[in-house]
Amino acid sequence: MTPVDFTTFMRNYQDMVYSTAVRLLGNDAQAEDISQEVFLKAYERYDDLSTSPTAGGWLKTVTTNLSINHLQRYRKRWSFFSDLVHRDSDGEDSGEVEFAAPDGDFLADLNQGDRRAWVERALDELPDHQRVPLVLYHFEDMPYDDIARQLGVSLSKIKTDILRGRTALAQILMRSGTEHESLTAQR
């Protein structure tokens, strides 16, 4: 192996690794630390990875696991926060969640660059217990039960967190300054 080979390998995958980490963690500095750790692990196994067609999948899995492990180091705080939110808003689960949305598509009036930045910012604004399962579901295509197993929480809680995450994300996206009409998400 030469450093040049590994540098090329890293350049091919670094955006994917960083994106996965930063969307899960919601923090640029922590995502860079995790990305570094992922590539150091990849370097140790580079002889296998350099010729493997599943190198991208391996990198994504390691990034996801390391990011979740990093978040779970603060698990007590996270669980406490999540439980608190659920206790405080138990009533909302049984009713309708209202939010405003533009006709047709979210953020339809924004240009592509603004739209992307707005979505990333909206994701960052979500609390960990909503953002992490939402990212795993929509970006990583993980089914609900796998997410519940990986995060060590119940299936019903994951479904509730993801639904709340979508609603919260939609509400944040509505603040884009486009024409609004009221929408109601019913459970």
Binding site: Y18, R116, Q186
Partner: protein, 154 residues
């Protein structure tokens, strides 16, 4: 007021999120990774992970670790009465023999050297230790002073 079912909301959010391109990794990431690889490669083998140890050391480690694990297992089995003490002793006879030979050799060497060594009184011994301790403290103090005066304010 329009209404969205959870399924419709899921589809809309999914569409919005899946349109997102990958986030661009910071420019500093590549340099950080390559720098850390270079730093780790510069470390001596005993500070690196097992994969980077020399093959001879790896092999020795495996042999010693297997030996210790086997011995522990056998002694545990002996304690539980699964195997008899005699069979364990027979199994380890070559090891005990080698240890006995080494001990005999060491005793012989010590026996040769001891008569030529002078007798030390306890006072002489404790005095020597005190001088050594004092010299160490002085050296430490001098080192700290030299560091503060000559290096820290550079």
């Amino acid at each position: 007021m329009a209404r969205l079912t959870p399924e419709e909301l899921e589809q809309k959010i999914h569409a919005v999120l899946r349109e997102q391109p990958p986030r661009r990794a910071p420019m500093s990431l590549e340099a950080r990774v390559l720098g850390e690889i270079a730093r780790r490669q510069a470390l001596p083998w005993w500070q690196q992970s097992y994969a980077y140890w020399p093959n001879a050391v790896k092999l020795s480690f495996l042999v010693i670790a297997t030996g210790i694990a086997g011995a522990l297992l056998l002694f545990s089995m002996q304690l539980l009465g699964v195997v008899s003490g005699e069979s364990v002793r027979q199994l380890f006879e070559p090891v005990f023999g080698a240890v006995h030979t080494l001990r005999a050799g060491a005793s012989a060497v010590i026996g040769l050297v001891t008569p030529s060594m002078p007798e030390f009184s306890n006072t002489f011994l404790y005095g020597g230790l005190a001088i050594l301790g004092g010299a160490y403290a002085v050296m430490l103090g001098l080192g700290a002073t030299a560091y503060r005066v000559l290096w820290q304010h550079r």
